[in-house]
Symmetry: D2
Subunit: 428 residues, 4 copies
């Protein structure tokens, strides 16, 4: 129905030339938006998608400059409100201090499919941003609104399985960012065995577009090799006999939602779901890459062990020693962990549990971390404490195992004991 | 899972006194919100619901006063931004000019069910507002966010039928605000016959709570009596042989969403849905009350016809004459139609189509409008034009029928011709 | 689409008079059935439903007499097969020994909705059967096919709740045969509280028609009063704190499925479902009427206790004593329990657990059983043993409680102990 | 729940040796079946699946011989019924004339998943049947019951699309019997474009198992090449601008349902569904193989044209001439078309519409039919008439086009005219 009405709008009989997208946006912000806003919003979004690249750039500059707030007016109204304190002056101030592009984006977000169109629009914006930092103002407003619309309360967690429609599964294949899915057989191996799980967040207005997903392996012990996890010919375990849930891959799907973080919530909700389904699960860990290890090692050029690790001639325990040191000691100038994956998980309240040499023997794994990987442990009962410790900078939450590996104190038998401890709430 | 964690928080063994809701809100706005925000948000909402009335009032004053913006800071930052124009100063300004209670409300809206809890919270706020106009500032922020969260793109239209779960149907019974539904038999008469329809908007996070619903009768001619429409023993029509869809009742369900309007969009989308299902439908009208008629008549005390209408002794054509005059002539000081229902429909782009004496013989119908009712016509092809005409104040969109009734020119045979015209796009 | 084709079949231009239903049935059984069988089957069923009562009777006689097998042919073919033993002669014999009406019913059961139409057809047949026992032959064939089509593997168990569509709920109200549901409030009391459940079987081809349903109360102790169970103002229990599931009403819905029994399977499957959902449930009992008690008491006219019970002047323990004796001692000539409800439950493998005076104080309860009711206990681990004992006539499965009541030995304190025993697998 | 009970049955501690499958079947047919039939039926089916091949053969002989009817008893009871005509004697006769294995199969079909297990059991039976024709008696009974359980009224038509779960799609890939699906990309090409459709029948008790499916291409003209239909880089058509629906592949999925035909009904129902969705579709044709063409040509060895066709040196019009003659003239001894695919479609009421040379250039297409393919036309309005004509042997339903090709009369320009005619109901 809507499309037929649009057709009519563009009938050749109309004398006036077609309106520009900017004209339509202006109309949407004024009274026309009230009575036929949905149709107009839809037309604007359709028009936008058909624009050439430079026209799109111009459109963002229109948003950035023409729909900008007026700081002088804001200052004046702030003064008035400071004096009177009345609700009316409050309203005037808050209205003036929100640029009109925010209201425009809200009004565009009225038709079915609009949210997805705005997310795609931001993909373009992020690209223009690289060349034109001034567009950051518009991007702040996109982020502000997207964060409100993609708040946790609106998201829907869905299990992805071999019963999931192919139209969604092909997106899982496309979006997997950590350990590529080669083909449908590979996908089947990750979804179908009884000891494998996958969960994704969706937004109600984008039912076919996963926002983020995590792949989980249910195992009997904490795994020390991603190739073993992904192996095609392992016999599956009975999920009721497993005790460890391994988050071995987590991928964001929507570039247009950059800066709106779902991973923290996803991991915690999946921990909750799995605990409810399989109460015997005791340990929730990741098997994560260490993307910054080799770069850090190269910066320690004179160190013999670092050199041996980089040249692939080091013993496993040396690789683990250096990886543990990197994770515990390497910091950014402001004191945060240098490793970005580590920052993410410790920021979520996890702790560094263990490192493994020879854990990722893929080309990429060898190049970035000499094959080492790390487990971050999520213990729901300790998460708040870990996070507080971490944020206050008091200590970096880590298991005794990892501390001993960093200090080269670890006796062989300790490892098993440590893993047992992990199941009972390992502290730092 | 969540609830068991909450229990633990409140164990009697804990030495520290329980935190106040204000303390928890402060924590949610700072770092604690980042790692355990969902749980904390849920606790705050649960705590709020258990507060006494005066504690709730205090909570709103906390929002209104303690989480207020600082106009001096806004003025300063506006000055800085005016000078530099940098994105960083822009961000600082927009952050400062949004009161922290907005961010609080967004963070509260993270857990499942939070949106519904915030809508209930606003019901309380609206009540306190009557006594304490200063809280309007907080209400502006509620409206601002609710409008963003309940934008059209997020709403879901669902047909309400005799196949709908009883848990939702009992809410339809409870929320019907125009023509009360007496019992389940009455409800069945409105939903089950093949020539009856009902549609409602829902929000994805409140799947059991209709936001607004409209009841529709499919008929062969424009009806002139609500009692005939609601009659228990009429034979149902074959819907494929009807030509008129009558919107005879439209009810908002959520007091907490006052000021966020759905009616306009609902009517138009239902017109679209019905047109797609039954292409032979040509006329979309309401059968609406005229709530202000008798009050207006009483203000014209000296007028004999007005007196006769009020005393119930007037002829039908006199009642219709006065009702037509009221609808066409009675205005508010700023020129809008005096009748609130008329304002709503003309604001949506409808036109006044016809009036009928003896159309609502219920006690309420006689008291408010001496039994008269009105049809507003929704012609999708004319809606924009009608609205523009109406908004510019050029003319009040009305059919020839109603103009003639107002002018007492109407010959008896005109009526049928007029109704035929209505099917072909009646103009004002 | 189908209906428009039917219309065409009946165009007035057709010279031949419309075919009789018998003609169409004959055609369906021959080649026409192969290419346009679905349409023809639908027409036959539609035609049947529009027949007058006497035409329907004639139709059943057509089935009974004209579509009968030929016993002489059967005898001949049986002889041939006895001699040759070939598959071809086997096929010839089995074809000849099945009357053609069976194949007709199978071919009628091809269109959507046909199964329901055949079930309705049997309702008529059962009525004619009262006057014309010869139609029993046709009824045997209906039962034979319906039993095959309504086998347990095809049935779907669905929970009936306050979330169930009203169109199904109104059927629950209509079909409740034991304790009438007065109105929707009464229905809500039986479905909505957290300690109430209702389950029904459906057939995939009749998704809106429950076949049988059972109402369940979750309680802390075995209840001794149906009025207490149905009471409107009891506070609901937390289902996780209950230990007893009480099947207090079970109703067959389809008269046309008389003789095809679902109750046995329904109770056992619901025991399984409830055990999975609420593992702490230990006792599964009915609270059942004793429909034959008063009739049996009247036959023991001289007995003083029987007289006192009948006149309503007996003490509770006397009522229970007589009810227990009735249940344990009263038999049909061939040794089965006299009480039909008791026969049903003991035939399912239940045992007689307890009787209660004053348990049903409704008019009907007082008239049929002087207010007494009985609990039958379903212990899945004992069901096979109970059934075997019962079928072999070795003993009537009953608890010690009921035996002592029958023998007047029961000390007051025994009752509590006995109930405790019931939770650990009470034996007879 | 069920599985835990089964486990218990097989505990090593049990002193008694496990029962044989035959013992359990006997028990199921007697009283034990009444109280714990579902569990016992499940155990029998599980036991069967674990049997060795020779044990399975023995089981079928048990069914065939031990659960056989007694023809002498049948003859006696037929005599009794012939004499008395009473319902009781009727019942005795019909019971005796049905072998007990039929009742056994019905009782086995009680548990969830049993129908699928019985279909798999028949796959085994069909294999044994090749070596042991006597088992045909048991197979007659399987077919008799399966036909009743898989009657059209119970089947569910579902569209197979790119939204379908992967678990079902992988079965479509596996079961495609006409034009193999190479991989998921190939599957996507058949399901996802807007001008492609696929429909399958399912049985409610086997929701993951398609019974039969048909692949459809929506086109602007009747296609003359399967490679063009399957091509990977054709631009998709707007379905609303197509006029022809081409059934280019139809595959049965369940070997265990051999002899129970769904294809006729599926094609006709899909014609109905597509007509409802896209009313502008006018022509419903197949693009079918001609599997017997080359074998027939080889039998006409002396014919020069036949030789040229077989050697691949013939002109297109010669290939079409010979293919047309084969389809119109080649018959089985009893007068039916020699080609099995032709028999199927003409038996459904279709007519032979056209033949195309070079239509299937795959290895298989060249080998069986020298690359020729045929269109069969389904015109719902003519189906009954076609079928009657065909069955009575009056004529073979065929278009003028095909007759002219067979007679070599066809002028080039005729083809277009003929195709136009096809859209208006082409007659033979």
């Amino acid at each position: 129905m809507l499309s037929s009405l649009f057709e009519r709008r563009r009938l050749p009989g109309r004398a006036d030339p077609a309106r520009t997208i900017e004209d339509m946006c202006t109309a949407l912000l004024t009274e026309e938006g009230e009575v036929s806003g949905i149709r107009l919003a839809q037309t604007i979004l359709d028009t936008y998608e058909a624009l050439e690249r430079e026209q799109k750039r111009a459109f963002f500059h229109y948003l950035n400059d023409r729909l900008e707030l007026d700081p002088a007016e804001v200052a004046t109204l702030a003064g008035a409100y400071a004096k009177t304190g009345t609700p009316e002056d409050y309203r005037a101030l808050t209205r003036a201090s929100e640029p009109r592009r925010q209201e425009l984006l809200r009004r565009l977000n009225q038709s079915f499919g609009a949210t997805a169109a705005l997310v795609r629009m931001r993909v373009d914006l992020l690209e223009f941003l690289r060349e034109d930092a001034d567009l950051k103002r518009t991007d702040f407003d996109f982020v502000h609104l997207l964060r409100s619309w993609f708040n946790r309360g609106f998201l829907v967690l869905r299990q992805i399985s071999w019963e999931t429609p192919a139209s969604i599964l092909e997106k899982i294949v496309a979006y997997e960012a950590v350990h590529a899915i080669n083909d449908w057989d590979d996908l089947r191996r990750r979804l179908h065995p009884p000891d494998r799980r996958c969960f994704a967040y969706f937004h109600p207005t984008m039912p076919d577009e996963p926002l983020i997903f995590v792949e989980v392996a249910l195992t009997r012990t904490i795994p020390d090799s991603i190739q073993a996890v992904l192996s095609g010919d392992r016999p599956p375990s009975n999920p009721e006999e497993t005790s460890v849930a391994v988050f071995y891959s987590i991928s964001n799907c929507q570039r247009g939602l950059k800066g709106i973080s779902f991973g923290n919530m996803l991991i915690k909700q999946v921990v909750g779901e799995l605990s409810a389904e399989l109460p015997q699960l005791k340990t929730f860990v990741t098997l994560s890459p260490i993307p910054g290890l080799n770069a850090w090692l190269r910066a320690h050029d004179g160190d013999d062990t670092a050199g041996a690790v980089l040249s692939g001639t080091a013993r496993a325990e040396d690789v683990e020693h250096m990886a543990a040191r990197y994770l515990l000691e390497a910091r950014t100038p402001n004191g945060a962990p240098l490793d970005p994956v580590e920052r993410f998980h410790l920021g979520n309240g996890a702790l560094v549990q263990d490192v493994h040499a020879g854990a990722d023997t893929s080309e990429n794994g060898l190049r970035q971390s000499s094959g080492a990987m790390v487990n971050y442990l999520y213990d729901l009962a300790e998460i708040s404490q870990n996070h507080e410790t971490f944020v206050r900078g008091e200590a970096l939450p880590a298991s005794r195992t990892i501390r001993q590996k960093a200090a080269r104190q670890k006796p062989a038998r300790q490892k098993a004991a440590d893993q047992a401890t992990a199941r009972r709430k390992d502290g730092p």
